[in-house]
Chain length 251, copies 8
């Protein structure tokens, strides 16, 4: 963007553009021209391998339209989250779609080679948490991370988790996903020495209150290095884990 | 009590008491005379070794008065919970009082020999939970149970708990006491094969909401065999644990 | 398990296994080999008569598959909770299933002879609480407890409960199940001298808030000896009651 | 008030007042002149014996000033609720004040002869509920009701309540006051055949949440004939009970 | 009941019954025989004109069965609340049923002549509150009260309410029913000088939270003489209002 | 209305109406006759262009009936909110209806020329908030305001909002509509120097709790000049914005 | 600001500033130089008469320092909200301060002549709401609005409010302030035809929950034209009311 | 630790230790000896520069004792959080303590050279959030991170934040700290392309509910890459940010 402004200034200097026209241009488009569009541009460059569509509340036709538009603009990998079966079937008519029913995730363009600094371990308390876990896993994978799945290691049988402690110790990021009492995050947080992202799920009944119990539990984790995302937000956890897993690329 | 009614009936049979007088007596005091007082009497017999005074909201003078009255009626062991220092100092002037400042518990008459079916293990997540734990421990001890203290074994360092797994395995009852995320109850519940009583504490800050987070966590425990008492209710947990620990005595 | 380690150490002593191989073996499988698997083994032995399947969120095919697998491994009694009619019909095609529609419970292999130390009394406040009560009752029965049902004895007609006070007095454990204001737990807790397990139910409307009102009421019970499980958690109450009812077996 | 309007209309009829002036007068003071002030006048007449001052948030000087002003206007009986000791001492300097420290209630002018249709029974779950109960009792008494106190009859010892069942049966209104789980309202509601007013109190700790637990419990009461007032609102309950207790006077 | 005990005592006196047999009889059936059953009997006598069936959660067959059983025992008037159309159609096949679809109320046996001490005014804030209001109205009517309906007089157009102030002033009881902000109860409470029963309804959206907003509003009413029942509990309000409306009958 | 009273007074003056009859008439209809109906009349005059029907909970027949009645009384513009498709189809049979499916809004009589003092800018955080925004926009438009739509300018891409800052600066009122974290209101509130009306929406999942999160966020806005209406209350925001936008007309 | 950029561009055109320096300058200070600072400048110009200091959490020394600094920069009127007495005394040593103890508001420089389009009416439910009302009133007054105070007109005595209906009808904005059940906002909203700003207060006890009850009530107001600010936020209401009251000045 | 087991095995091999003794040793101390202590050891090595003491709830004497003990064991840097002034003064008598009163943080041994992969930017919404921010900053600094402070950039003046966008763009981690509506996290999350850790603070009043409003807002952030820690948990955020900022060191 700097080059755009520089060009404009050079044009003013050379007389090719009048002061008034330059002023107008600067004023009318402060963001596209002066630098804030870089945010979006930068993002596209940075995340590169994949664009994301949030499928909830969109019609099959809308989703298909967005995909088509993205492909036309050269996007090679697309992740669609919260995509229902009906939408998947509709899209699959015209696009090569890899649909994961369990996670409600659709993938266009396949997965890239992982290029992060390590592995992301995704642990769940129970088998009912797997849909959220898969949303996280597929998100991280399409963005370029290697993912290790460690499902059904809830703390009511803590030996199951401990039996895989080497995985925890080797991870660059751990995503701990659990409903009910959400204690997994604390136990994992106490074992791991990498960042731990906790995802409460709405799994449970009665006093689980749709995930509030797990959410509060995770926010109160007595272990350091744990942070929390919204209930059932597998995508957010996968996105953040991948970002952390690509930290060394930055500078 | 049966004997009171029997006596009355015999008096009716013998003519010593008229039908009307008997009827009046039965009607006017249905509980003391006819059987419900047995509840209280039975309790005193059953719990025998100790009477309990809930100290909160009572003046030092009131507490001293109740103690004196109990002693006059032959009560040899008394437990006072939620007793502040001022009350303890006042009572100690006239009674031999064993006051535990940390637990805010006063004891008159000392502890009996334990006669339960096993040991009660009391585990806490952190050191801040110890006052509640001591209230539970002293309650169980004065009622006749052997107590093993296992403090500061929170799940953010799960190896601390696992290092004492033999104690957990040998317990007849485990009381799991924790604030913040309250995950201790689930982990202990998964390790123990005896009844586990979970006590949420108001330890924590922010989203711990004065114990709500721990409470919800414990209610949602994915481990079987766990039940929960009120926030900070060490007395209730100790009382119930002792009751379970004397199960075989019953029949 | 000790024998496994002993064998390994003897092999080291005899030179049959090298130090490095032994070290690797100990490190790589700390739980299966060194003792934590005993937890699960112990459990199977201890609870012996029945294995439990949580049916919610499982397809009829999955439930049938788990049952088949369990039977293949010699499991003779199986309890399936939260099992819907569709699953029951599917399972019944290939397995002899005793399905209780009201409680949403399926039973394979029938009930054992009760061998606990006493009777478990299950009291409900109303008739709408019966499904939860039956889940508790069938759980306790298949695990080997004798159960006495005392339904519809809510506190708005306290004489109904008092009319059965002998049952309450004779129980080894009482399970008090109620929705709405959940007052049953307190009244029962004041009458009984055995452990009381309170189960709030989601029965009610308006300010019952899906069981929160009953839950809070039970947690605040002014009666000693009462503890609480999750809303509608009949299984948890039945499991814990049976555990307490087998206390004397332990040592 | 009718006479005011009548006078105005007569003046219009006689020509003493013009139509425009009459119109203006009617329009400008619709309530004082046309009838709504009768509400307050009626009230003073109706409740006659006592005026009420809500003492919370008022300085001793303000309270004393209001009392003085009321007396000057011929008020012979005054009830001051939520009056702290400091205010009581200040007022007592100049007025003959009957101050009840426990209930934080001050009374000027003493109590009238009770003239209601029956007795109001005020029952409390515990001794800690007594301040609220006394606020209710004194309110009802100064308004002209006979009150029977039945304190510390909580449902964890239901025989204590049942022992006084005749009182409950004879009451014209029962006020049931309890904190913690608030079950007293349901039990009393099941026994009484008169209106029952339930008052939740903020007595308790942990999951009592300052009276919320008792409040919800009472709102969900499975007994018919029970209604609820605000937490700790002894005055409101006493006022309403007295109103019901004077029902026959109305027509 | 007194006569039962008197008979027993006379039999003991005469020798017709032994002391042991009498003792057993007294102990085994403390409530049916000694007096608590009088509660229920008394109720039937007292409320006489109608028995109530809570239809929610009951099948059409169950409701029909209960009605038939009641009729067989001589019950001439029956009120069924929360009765859905399917149940009404089923019952109507065999019984003469007056079904009010709006209120989900069914009536068998018609309404008695009103015999209360005055009129019950039922006011609603909007038209959406009418189903709850009708449940209250029909309940009070079948129990013997005269009811005046004053619907859609919400406080956002306070003149609509004031236009009917004479009705409010003449009422023996007012039931104020409103959802959303529930302010009607306070305004009515300020106008009326009789007991006011407030019924919050679940009408509204967003921050009405299913009736919580109206409930809290009503509990906090700054007007004296107002008490509250559960959200949508028209029956409870009608029942209580009728009870108050028959106060003078009692003594 | 004044003329009605004036007429009555003139009749009294002339002797055509007696004082008693006039008194009765004034007393019996204090609001219709004496001035409070002016509130409603005034409203009709003031808002003139449109009458509003709240469609939720009304049958298609009821809505059609109200429309017909309004038209018969000369109402030329009608807005129907929360109108479902079924109702729209029914009404369209007999009335020329402009139905906006997205906003669930029906319009009869078309839009007037805008005559407010400026433009109302309606900004939304995302595309899912558009239905609420359209309800607000159409409400303001039918009442006579010019509306500028600025959709999908949520704060996670704050440059999108800033790119339109001139619109914000020129607005006479801004309506900020957002779900999830509701931060849009604060950012807009900081940029605008006109009144800002914040509308939380129920858009989101998990810890958005049906709009509570956005609601709280907006109430806590650190920007001055922001006020809040109920969750999803597009109508209320549009109505209020239009009222503010016609301020200068008043005096 | 345009002139700053124009100057820079002219300097580039003339060669007085190099392209690189201009680029740096534009990039380094996008807001001060390019236009967003205008927001703040505009504000100062617009609100002119007064600057506001939020006193909560600031030491007396800090407040005095800010006042001194403002005065040095030519600010002639300053409003300090949430200012405690200690701070007022400290400031009064060096500045001429008009301190209103009740409202916790300090004023420097006195009040301007009101220049709004009409009068702001501030109504409160009770006398305890007055501190919040005064904060609102003084805020509006120092910003240039005429304020009419209408205190203690709560809906439990609705005639008090109606007696002042002319004031309500004449207002350009009404601020309705109430705690407890907050019904005042709805009643006022139904009477007024101008914007109504509702302010819930934390006045009350028990189920008022520190203002939540009033807040919910106001959000659910069934009257159109009502919006809500944070609990006890008198300043926010006064600020917004003044802004609306100066609407016509804008264009 | 491996060397300890290896030594033991070698001793078994050589016959220096018997199989039984080795078995006992392995069994009695499964964690210290067999590998889980590595967690703690590893941590100390990993975080190296500093040990942390949570000061809340500890007496000055306890804190001083722990510091002394740590120093004796060779710990050169110590961070004490939530340390009150009294404790600081006590500790300062015997230890060279750098106490930051605002953040309630004490530092022993000074700060190390930063060695992370980039800079941590800590942004706050207001000045009241600074104590939490400083706790985060000092935590990250003593653990070896470079921190840039960006205080008082709340979204109600979004230009303040945007003026520092280069800092945001350059950060390796951003910590966004805000109370009230917590919108800062979303705006920052939309601008940054690094991990963002959101910290809700208890700053605010009324509907901020002690930080709940900010917490919910942050959990619902519509920006990707944002996660949340507990209310006021500056330490947790600083600890996690530092961990992420040292990611590249790991492998």
């Amino acid at each position: 963007m700097n080059s755009d402004i520089r060009k404009l200034l050079e044009d003013v200097q050379s007389g090719a553009v009048s002061v008034d026209d330059a002023l107008l241009k600067i004023k009318m488009s402060p963001f596209e021209d002066i630098g804030y569009a870089k945010v979006d541009l930068h993002r596209r460059v940075r995340q590169g391998a994949a664009e994301v569509i949030y499928g909830a509340g969109k019609t099959p036709e809308q989703i298909a339209g967005i995909i088509e538009s993205m492909c036309r603009h050269g996007q090679s990998r697309i992740l669609i989250t919260r995509m229902n079966e009906e939408a998947a079937e509709f899209v699959a008519k015209t696009t090569s779609l890899d649909y994961r029913k369990d996670a409600k995730v659709g993938i266009v363009g396949g997965f890239p080679e992982p290029d992060g600094i390590g592995k992301i371990v995704i642990a769940t308390g129970g088998t009912s948490d797997i849909p959220v876990a898969e949303e996280a896993a597929l998100t991280a994978e399409i963005l370029g991370s290697k993912v290790v799945r460690l499902y059904d290691v809830g703390v009511s049988g803590v030996h199951r988790l401990l039996a895989h402690m080497d995985l925890i110790m080797e991870a660059s990021v751990v995503i701990a996903i659990a409903g009910m009492e959400g204690a997994l995050a604390s136990v994992v947080g106490g074992l791991a020495d990498c960042p731990v992202i906790a995802v409460p799920t709405s799994v449970g009944y009665g006093a689980s209150f749709g995930g509030i119990s797990a959410l509060l539990s995770m926010l109160n984790s007595c272990a350091s290095g744990v942070s929390v995302v919204n209930i059932d937000n597998g995508f957010g956890a996968g996105f953040l884990a991948n970002r952390i897993n690509h930290m060394e690329v930055k500078k």
